[in-house]
């Protein structure tokens, strides 16, 4: 090998991932090339530092924790009706829209046409014959004309 090998070739050489023929070719070149030998040494130096890194360990058994999390996630699974899960069927935006429409519809049912609305009735409350907290709904229903 007259020219320097590709850096990928040197890297694979360090990792022992070259075929016998290519390995031999790289070794022949290394015996003659200072730059490639220096590059190889740097790669090996890096590897040596990796090897010297402390071996990190969890330090305790993770299995019980994982089991607890699995149990919790099973308990937290949404209720299914007749085998169908409502959140699965409806996306969130659709669920919110349906809830708002249902709320408006139910509200409209509760509102009787012609009844006095809140702010207006409060304004007229000062003319009400029944004081606040009174049990009578009006003159006519509380007292008969004869008794007055």
């Amino acid at each position: 090998m007259k020219h320097c090998p590709d850096v990928r070739e040197l890297s694979a050489y360090v990792d022992g991932e070259l075929s016998e023929t290519r390995r031999q070719r790289v070794e022949d070149h290394l015996s003659r090339c200072f730059n490639c030998t220096a590059a190889l040494q740097e790669m090996r130096r890096l590897r040596a530092i990796f090897t010297s890194l402390p071996v990190r360990q969890v330090g305790f058994d993770l299995a019980p924790l994982i089991r607890a999390r699995l149990s919790a996630s099973i308990e937290g699974t949404p209720v299914r009706w007749f085998g169908w899960c409502i959140p699965d069927l409806m996306p969130l935006s659709l669920t919110i829209s349906a809830t708002v429409v249902a709320g408006i519809f139910i509200g409209a049912l509760l509102t009787v046409p012609g009844t006095v609305t809140g702010p207006e009735s409060q304004a007229m409350a000062m003319f009400d014959p029944v004081p606040p907290g009174g049990i009578c709904v009006g003159h006519a229903s509380c007292y008969s004309k004869g008794k007055l």
Binding site: D15, R56, Q57
Partner: protein, 188 residues
């Protein structure tokens, strides 16, 4: 932790776990938790994140067990999940503050100097710091190669990329890591 001679293999335990045997899955957790933890810790920044994500890896593995096939090594399959979990998490948190690809240059030879007298602990710390600045795609191949000592073929299976890609990615990752490391050491 390698399996003892008389102990059932990962495949046997995984097959039992597929049938709902929790104890078999617990054995697999105990066997692989440190390896997965080391890999995830290398990808993330702190121990708490790594512990949390290690659990996440096993949770996903348990849920995905029905899709595991015995023709694939359980450890390879597990590391695929670990790599996905780590990369997903880094993307989500946008912690991937690494050197841009533009800065990646081919490996430049460097003559070793007398600075090699530095203590191993300090060198390791500097290396880990430099490792954190690598793009996650580079970090994961280096960790799988240098820490887990996987072959190019295994790494290709874990990451679902071609062996040629593994080869070039490892080479570029080494070059970049070396530059960052030497810069931190003040040797560049």
């Amino acid at each position: 932790m390698p399996a003892c001679v008389n102990e059932p293999s990962d495949t046997e335990y995984a097959e039992r776990a597929q049938k709902g045997d929790w104890e078999s899955f617990s054995v697999l957790v105990r066997r692989h938790q440190d390896r997965v933890y080391r890999f995830v810790l290398g990808m993330m920044r702190c121990r708490e994140d790594a512990l949390e994500l290690t659990q996440e890896v096993f949770l996903r593995a348990f849920r995905a067990l029905p899709s595991w096939r015995s023709d694939a090594l359980f450890s390879t399959w597990l590391f695929r999940i670990a790599a996905n979990v780590a990369i997903d998490n880094l993307r989500r948190r946008k912690l991937a503050t690494y050197v841009s690809f533009d800065e990646c240059e081919d490996f430049v030879a460097h003559t070793p100097g007398p600075e090699e007298l530095a203590e191993a602990g300090e060198r390791g710390r500097l290396l880990e710091s430099a490792l954190q600045r690598l793009p996650p795609e580079y970090r994961e191949v280096l960790l799988l190669r240098e820490i887990e000592e996987m072959s190019y073929s295994e790494i290709a299976q874990v990451l679902r990329i071609r062996e040629g890609t593994v080869k070039s990615r490892i080479s570029r990752a080494r070059g970049l890591l070396l530059q960052l490391y030497l810069r931190q050491c003040g040797e560049l």
